[in-house]
């Protein structure tokens, strides 16, 4: 039984790692969508950032320079999205899809041209990555503090800095959205842009600020994938995580803290799926890991269908703002 709890703890530990890119992307989605801009392109921005982070970290040997370059590229992708659908009032879903397609093609083509390894970057040495940080007094805690000690060691210690940054981003997002004037305006611009406009604040400017923040957060998600948990870029390495994050954001009803829990739930399902595959469980038999993997999508669909309380997206989402003259 203790072994069961130990494995459970390790599954929670895995949950944190799996959920990290989802959390970054879900927060990015919240900023963007709360301002009224649908953001399908979380996936593409994350992919571009992952590539740039790995390529730059490989060239310079510094994960930090890689992270900065990745964030810049991710912001640029956001700006393209903004140019198309804020300035030119294009369709936000199509613009987002275009960025995803662009990212999946461009990363591979540039990767082949630069490194000639089938679109991968070379494997990064430990010094070019964000490595795990061991918290202080780990062994002391494990030996002297009964239950919390082992939790401290297995669950909390040994994560890289971006895992902590992801959790912090939830608090920051909550604070900005609900405790600052900027956040109030941002939420208003996604609900009733006319009101913001009549107060003399530029809707365009607000929306650009929101998607730039989204760009930074997606950039961090990409950096995490290729230079923290991973050691290099592999083509299409985001593997749908941007879409799961989108689902988590909707599951959390466009609110930071519930979205965090949705990300953790989805991450937990994946961590459990990895552990139950091919294992016979007493009385139940073998649980299908495919079912567990599909659960996030099923849950989101059920939620959207209105079974778990109502879901109300920001009212002006998807609508380009046209100033009345």
């Amino acid at each position: 039984m203790t072994d069961f709890w130990f494995q459970f703890l390790l599954a929670l530990d895995s949950t944190l790692r799996v959920a990290t890119p989802l959390i970054f992307c879900a927060m990015a989605g919240i900023f963007s969508e709360r301002s009224g801009i649908i953001d399908i392109s979380l996936e593409g921005k994350m992919l571009m950032a992952a590539f740039v982070a790995a390529a730059t970290a490989y060239a310079t040997g510094s994960p930090w320079i890689g992270a900065i370059a990745a964030i810049i590229v991710s912001i640029l992708a956001s700006l393209i999205h903004g140019f198309a659908c804020i300035i030119h009032r294009g369709n936000q879903v199509i613009s987002g899809l275009a960025i995803n397609i662009l990212a999946s093609g461009l990363t591979v083509i540039i990767g082949i041209a630069l490194f000639r390894q089938g679109g991968q970057t070379p494997t990064l040495p430990r010094t070019s990555r964000f490595n795990s940080l061991e918290l202080p007094f780990v062994d002391f805690m494990e030996q002297n503090v009964p239950i919390f000690g082992i939790i401290y060691k297995e669950l909390l210690s040994d994560h890289n800095i971006l895992v902590w940054a992801a959790l912090a981003s939830v608090g920051v997002t909550f604070y900005i959205l609900f405790k600052t004037t900027f956040g109030l305006r941002l939420r208003a611009v996604g609900e009733k842009p006319e009101a913001i406009d009549s107060a003399g604040i530029s809707v365009t400017r607000m929306r650009f600020q929101a998607i730039i923040i989204a760009g930074i957060l997606c950039g961090l998600a990409g950096v995490y994938l290729s230079t923290a948990t991973g050691a290099g870029f592999v083509k299409e390495m985001t593997a749908g995580k941007g879409y799961i994050a989108l689902a988590a954001m909707i599951f959390g009803k466009w609110r930071p803290v519930p979205a965090l829990f949705a990300c953790l739930l989805f991450g937990f399902l994946e961590a459990v799926a990895a552990r139950v595959q091919g294992v016979e469980i007493m009385l139940i038999g073998e649980i299908s890991s495919d079912l567990l993997i599909a659960l996030p999508y099923l849950l989101t669909v059920i939620l959207l269908a209105g079974f778990i309380g109502g879901v109300t997206p920001p009212r002006a989402i998807g609508q380009p703002y046209i100033k009345e003259r």
Binding site: I109, G119, T229, A231, M237, Q277, G278
Partner: protein, 329 residues
């Protein structure tokens, strides 16, 4: 006008050297220096050119629609034999081969097509996997080993089953954790998930993890290396991806397939049909180089050598999962 002239000159040279062999190869996405599948083919092509002096026309596909176009272009340029690389080119080569019955075609990693002018190469991955399974069991100190597959398809179960057979031949009570990454093509390129699956196996005590998961495997190797455990690479020699942490790699000798294709054609011995390359034909092997020489003890070497002998002599028949979709080990 220029293109007309060019066409004309191609036609005339085609006639002038009608008996000469004109080989062509279509590398797949990734290009010929991908440190993997394509580069393996390129090594075989290079060896052929060095030995015979016959130049091989080459094309590197960079997107999916180019495959068939490139093959047709090669035929137009007078190619007498066209070699395709990888199962992704199967549909293209089937179509072009049907339209050009006088040209010879060959494709690697395909076995299900049927055309009188097409040779197909398949590999006995289960035999190679059996060998690395023996090595894994010998190298494991916990008597627990892992396997991470890419997409959940029978071909990958073939790797898994051979591996299990190899492990159990050394240690009948060994525990083997198996995970498939997913059931969609994105399972081939999700290194983050590969790393998570590997960690989950290491958490349960595995200390050697074999992958057959394409790009996902990069994450498997790196997670094993980060945890101070051992990984086993696949397809090409991946020992250098994390020197000292990759026990060995299960090699598919695509270079042998490429070399044989062109060599047979140059001698007029081209045959159609399926050629299955196993241990006996030199089609699968395990990788030994300077990156893993310190990991491979004499004990491991001896065990793998005797497993190889047993397979070659027929004493051990490694079960092929594809034969009955079942793994008896």
């Amino acid at each position: 006008m220029v293109s007309c002239l060019a066409m004309f000159s191609v036609v005339t040279t085609g006639f002038a050297g009608s008996h000469a062999m004109k080989p062509a190869v279509i590398y797949d996405m990734g290009g010929k220096f991908d440190k993997s599948f394509n580069e393996g083919v390129w090594n075989g092509v290079k060896k052929f050119t060095e030995e015979t002096g016959i130049e091989v026309m080459e094309f590197e596909v960079t997107n999916e629609t180019q495959r068939e176009q490139a093959m047709r272009r090669m035929v137009e340029r007078g190619a007498t034999i066209v070699l395709g690389v990888g199962f992704a080119q199967a549909d293209a080569i089937a179509a072009v081969a049907a339209d050009n019955p006088d040209v010879q075609f060959s494709i690697i990693d395909v076995s299900w097509l049927d055309s009188p002018n097409l040779r197909q190469y398949a590999f006995k991955e289960h035999e190679g996997s059996y060998l690395v399974g023996v090595a894994a069991a010998k190298a494991s100190q916990t008597n627990k080993v892992g396997f991470v597959g890419g997409m959940d398809i029978p071909l990958i179960s073939r790797f898994a089953c051979g591996y299990v057979g190899g492990v159990k031949s050394v240690s009948a009570n060994a525990e083997i954790y198996q995970n498939m990454t997913g059931s969609t093509p994105s399972a081939w390129n999700d290194p983050a998930k590969g790393a998570e699956l590997t960690r989950s196996q290491i958490d349960r005590g595995a200390d050697v993890v074999y992958h057959a998961a394409g790009g996902t495997g990069v994450g498997v190797i790196q997670a094993a290396a980060d945890a101070g455990k051992l990984a086993i690479g696949v397809d090409s020699n991946q020992n250098g991806l994390a020197p000292g942490s990759v026990l060995t790699s299960m090699l598919k000798r695509v270079d042998v397939a490429a070399y044989n294709t062109f060599m047979d054609a140059s001698k007029g011995q081209f045959t159609s049909g399926v050629q299955v390359l196993g241990l006996a034909e030199g089609g699968v092997d395990w990788a030994l180089d300077e990156n893993n020489e310190n990991l491979i003890t004499d004990d491991i070497k001896k065990a793998v050598a005797s497993a190889r002998e047993a397979i070659l002599s027929g004493d051990v028949a490694v079960h092929d999962y594809l034969a009955d979709n079942n793994c008896p080990y």
